[in-house]
């Protein structure tokens, strides 16, 4: 109990000491909170997108086979389906029809797909929320599309995908095979790529190797590779995120080091007086550690709270311009809050621990000097 009471007395003193220089310390807490807020927002955002991608993309095709001609993705002939079917272990092969449509009026890119359900819906399309928003259309309206021969084809909006599907289907237009082929002048018997189902999941790599060998102008893409792509894209150790992260940490390190390592004249004098009135060196260091903990813990907790509100309640509005890039069509989606405890604890140890440690060293140096020499400064 004595120990607790002693710590509370030191904490009281540390708080009074911080309040005496409240302007400077408030500025410090604000900057510190902003850094934690930015880093935590990035962590929350990327982890949630990554997690959602890893769940929903489990439904993607097991193997996709693309044909590459002169280094470019090209249409794949129907004959390849029969070739792939001959490979032992292959359960089903389907030709997939999809492509991009650039809408010159709005400057948006749409992704057009043909599905089993849309085969017989000639003259109709189902569209994503993003398409409906950009084109300003509703259910039962018609959208004109410019086909490859320059003529316009008007298709009726049969359905609009629900809001919850925005992350995967915001720019999607589901179209019938007949309309798609007429639209892009794709001959019958040609597909964008092939999708495969394999009997034994552990044989996916073997099947992919065989496809590469039997059809050397193709490249197979496995579902695992699709999932790993999103794992890598939103990994905080990769891409631009690592640059933002390193920049923020370095800026904070310089800021904290400068603040913590050089004690002001008043602080040195304060330590001298404390020593002169009988404080032990260990007590002075404890008091300075409490000062570091007060500032860093308050900033960390505030930063985490604001970041959570920003990402999961405020739809990460501060990052939207960055994420939008040049896209005219951007999905409006609400993230499912996936919080990685590893990332939160990493952030804690990267922000609270170094600052608290950085305050101790100069205080220890000042506390070991004779009190009268410090007070005479």
């Amino acid at each position: 109990m004595d120990w607790i009471e002693k710590q509370r007395n030191i904490l009281d003193f540390a708080l009074s000491s911080l309040l005496r220089r409240w302007g400077k310390n408030l500025a410090l807490v604000i900057v510190y909170t902003v850094i934690v807020f930015v880093l935590a927002s990035i962590f929350f955002l990327t982890h949630s997108i990554k997690k959602e991608a890893s769940i929903v993309l489990q439904g993607s095709p097991e193997i996709i086979v693309q044909r590459v001609i002169a280094g470019r993705h090209d249409l794949i002939p129907e004959a390849y389906i029969d070739e792939v079917k001959k490979i032992p272990g292959v359960l089903a092969v389907k030709g997939r029809l999809w492509g991009y449509y650039f809408e010159p009026v709005t400057g948006a890119n749409y992704t057009m797909v043909v599905t089993d359900a849309s085969q017989d819906k000639v003259g109709f399309v189902s569209i994503g929320q993003g398409v409906a928003r950009v084109a300003g259309v509703h259910k039962e309206d018609t959208i004109p599309f410019k086909s490859s021969d320059g003529t316009y084809i008007s298709l009726e909006v049969a359905d609009i995908f629900p809001h919850e599907s925005e992350l995967i289907a915001s720019d999607l237009i589901e179209i019938s095979e007949e309309d798609f082929r007429q639209f892009f002048a794709i001959p019958k018997g040609a597909f964008t790529d092939l999708t495969l189902r394999v009997r034994n999941k552990s044989e996916l790599n073997v099947v992919a190797d065989k496809i590469r060998r039997y059809l050397p102008d193709t490249r197979p893409i496995l579902r695992d590779e699709i999932l790993r792509t999103y794992e890598a894209i939103f990994d905080w150790r990769g891409g631009l995120l690592v640059v933002i992260f390193t920049g923020a940490i370095l800026a904070f390190a310089i800021f904290a080091w400068d603040k913590a390592s050089s004690l002001s004249f008043e602080e040195k004098k304060e330590i001298g007086i404390l020593k002169a009135v009988g404080w032990e060196t260990s007590e002075v260091i404890t008091m300075k550690s409490w000062e570091g903990i007060i500032i860093s813990l308050s900033s960390f907790l505030l930063g985490i709270i604001f970041a959570y509100i920003h990402v999961f309640f405020g739809s990460f509005f501060l990052f939207t311009p960055v994420l939008k890039g040049w896209s005219t069509l951007y999905p409006h989606f609400k993230l499912i809050p996936y919080v990685d405890p590893y990332q939160v604890s990493a952030l804690f140890f990267l922000t609270v621990a170094p600052y608290t440690a950085a305050t101790i060293i100069p205080s220890w140096r000042a506390a070991t000097i004779e009190p009268d020499s410090v007070m005479r400064l």
Partner: protein, 102 residues
């Protein structure tokens, strides 16, 4: 209750910790609530045979990064390094880096 500065500070920290725990509990409930949407999402991805998220629609290699090949980033002209801002946000898929050439 708030006679001493240390009391005020400790209560302030406790309140913050409580808010953080409430937010993380909110995350837990939201995840449970989102389960049907996620299942619908998996079904849609399966039925429509989708491969990517529609996050970045500005270029084809950012709209479908998993379908991209090594030369798509250089599609405009030989010295065009990166044209679209979102292309700088994301790194190439690991299977392209691993294979060297596809």
């Amino acid at each position: 209750m708030f006679n001493r500065k240390s009391d005020t500070f400790l209560w302030y920290v406790a309140a913050n910790v409580l808010v953080v725990s409430l937010l993380f509990t909110h995350a837990l409930f939201e995840r449970k609530k989102a389960l049907p949407h996620l299942l619908n999402g998996i079904k849609m991805v399966h039925d429509y045979q989708l491969t990517d998220l529609s996050l970045f629609t500005d270029a084809r290699y950012t709209r479908h990064p998993s379908m991209a090949d090594l030369n798509t980033a250089f599609q405009d002209h030989p010295l065009s390094l990166e044209h679209f801002p979102s292309g700088s946000l994301i790194i190439p898929p690991p299977h392209l880096i691993k294979n060297g050439l596809d």
